[in-house]
């Protein structure tokens, strides 16, 4: 099985490459449109529905600095697809080069167990968990900004900060009472 490897290719000058993985293929499109508008750094965005990525693109694909899994909490399939895709990443990515982004967390029809499950997953992998609002342009811009902060560090473009250092500060933690029933 072909794993995606973090350091097997050379980096580009002042370039950051991000891979957005989303089962629904909706939010990744609008997020990508905002991400490429960044001027200080050249941002290249690759979009995928799931991993593993096709072999045909192996040659032309640049070094991926950050892999973002976009999970929509309204769909169980979204979570399962992301979980299955994790197996196709080289372990080197989990030192700060993977990030989880969750949408529709405020939706009342979402079972709370799903968010807990995503939290546990992110915490066990020492990855940050971002919440995004994908319906409005403002929400998309905000999500893109936060993602860019992490991306610049992961691509090595921020002096004195490495991806591993940042992830130890931003990684998701699960509160100790997560298994207790919540007040609803």
């Amino acid at each position: 099985m072909s794993l995606l490897k973090p350091f097997s290719k050379l980096p580009g000058l002042n370039t950051a490459n991000v891979l957005l993985v989303e089962s629904e293929e909706q939010f990744q499109q609008s997020l990508a449109d905002v991400l490429v508008e960044e001027t200080a750094v050249t941002v290249n965005v690759r979009l995928a529905k799931s991993l593993p990525l096709p072999m045909e693109n192996e040659e032309s694909r640049p070094r991926i600095d950050l892999v973002v899994f976009i999970i929509s909490l309204t769909s169980e399939l979204s979570f399962q697809s992301a979980e299955a895709s994790l197996k196709c990443l080289d372990p080197g990515y989990f030192l700060g080069k993977v990030c989880f982004m969750v949408t529709n967390a405020r939706n009342s029809s979402v079972p709370p167990e799903r968010l807990d499950a995503v939290r546990k997953l992110a915490a066990s992998l020492h990855c940050p968990l971002l919440f995004a609002e994908d319906q409005t342009p403002d929400g998309v811009t905000n999500a893109a900004e936060r993602l860019l902060t992490i991306l610049k560090v992961a691509a090595g473009l921020v002096p004195m900060a490495t991806a591993l250092y940042l992830s130890s500060l931003t990684r998701c933690t699960v509160p100790p009472d997560v298994d207790q029933p919540s007040f609803d």
Binding site: L19, S23, E24, E25, Q29, A32, D33, V36, T42, V43, N44, V45, R46, L47, A48, K49, S50, L53, P54, E56, N57, R61, L77
Partner: protein, 345 residues
């Protein structure tokens, strides 16, 4: 003008929305120019109804005229009520050369023989469809114009579309249709929907079909919503494949608007962990119903976005392929549709 005619006109006026009234009356063409001018279409519905009743008295119209007006309205707005499709079977040698006058005479005479009092109106629409309005009566009562049956038939095709038909009237209509179109039998096509145009387009395949090709590359590029060269889709090839297979199964562009699909399962329960259910002798009966404002569009999207696996399962793709939306699934495969053989006397 008698009470029943008045009631018929009132009922009809309730049915026609105000914005359609002017055009419908113009199309009908029985009002004189002066009368048409004298109606103020911005009034409330009840005022318009009164005005039309007055004109009706003036012109001495009968139930037949009102029925004609109703037929004009329904012909122009066929997407109401529930339409059922039927298919004629086993044509005679001259079934394909039945033309309008012959069909009209034969149908009227056959139906007249079967039902003592019946009022039949046949009209050919601009799009080659023959519209039939039937008001049913029996040996003792006059035809009931309040509950007419509408039948649409395209000559030289085996398809018939019917609305508002009771089970008592069904064998009579079937007999008359079979004899006048020179076929041997008529069966239920297992297709129903609210929009006549949709079920007609589905059965007669009047939507954009996509045929399997070896090199579908022009279609693949159409899907590129990405214009920025810095954004690249890794799995564009796979997405294009899924889209192609979805379009091959359901068609491209605007699809006929079906509202529902019903699958009636009469299969055995299969789950090894549940002994009680699997040991039952009788088949497990279950009905699965899909509803949507545009069912075929939803199914096509399911297939192209990967929610439904591709190649599309025959259970779903047989909706457009066989032109039905009611299926009976038994363990050996989809069941036969119900047959109807009117008796020959």
């Amino acid at each position: 003008m008698d009470d029943s005619t008045k009631r018929l006109l009132q009922r009809l006026m309730r049915r026609i929305p105000t914005q359609m009234l002017k055009t419908t009356l113009e199309k009908w063409g029985r009002l004189t120019a002066a009368q048409q001018q004298s109606i103020d279409f911005t009034q409330a519905k009840w005022a318009l109804t009164e005005k039309l009743l007055a004109i009706c008295e003036e012109n001495e119209w009968t139930a037949k005229h009102i029925a004609e007006l109703e037929m004009t309205y329904v012909t122009e707005n066929p997407n109401q009520g529930m339409w059922y499709a039927f298919q004629l079977m086993d044509p005679e040698d001259d079934a394909h050369s039945v033309e309008l006058m012959q069909f009209k005479e034969q149908f009227k005479s056959h139906l007249g023989e079967l039902v003592r009092h019946v009022s039949v109106k046949i009209k050919k629409h601009t799009d080659e469809a023959v519209w039939i309005r039937i008001a049913w009566g029996d040996s003792f009562t006059r035809p009931n114009h309040l509950k007419p049956t509408y039948v649409v038939h395209h000559l030289q095709t085996p398809f018939v579309f019917v609305t508002s038909l009771t089970s008592k009237q069904k064998p009579l209509l079937s007999q008359a249709l079979v004899l006048s179109t020179r076929y041997h039998a008529i069966k239920d096509a297992n297709l129903s929907g609210r929009k006549l145009t949709a079920i007609r387009d589905l059965l007669m395949r009047q939507y954009q079909q996509v045929f399997p090709t070896r090199y579908p590359s022009p279609l693949a590029e159409e899907n590129q919503t990405v214009s920025n060269p810095r954004i690249e889709r890794e799995q564009a090839g796979l997405a294009a494949n899924r889209c192609q297979m979805a379009c091959e199964a359901f068609g491209d562009g605007m699809l006929p608007q079906l509202q529902s699909a019903v699958y009636k399962l009469e299969t055995k329960f299969r789950d090894h962990t549940n002994k009680i259910m699997t040991e039952r002798e009788e088949p497990f009966r279950c009905v699965v119903k899909f509803t949507s404002t545009n069912l075929l569009e939803s199914l096509r999207h399911c297939a192209s976005s990967g929610i439904a696996s591709t190649p599309v399962t025959p259970l779903l793709s047989s909706i457009p392929l066989k032109g039905r939306n009611y299926f009976v699934i038994t363990d050996n495969g989809p069941g036969p549709s119900s047959q109807m053989h009117p008796s020959q006397n």
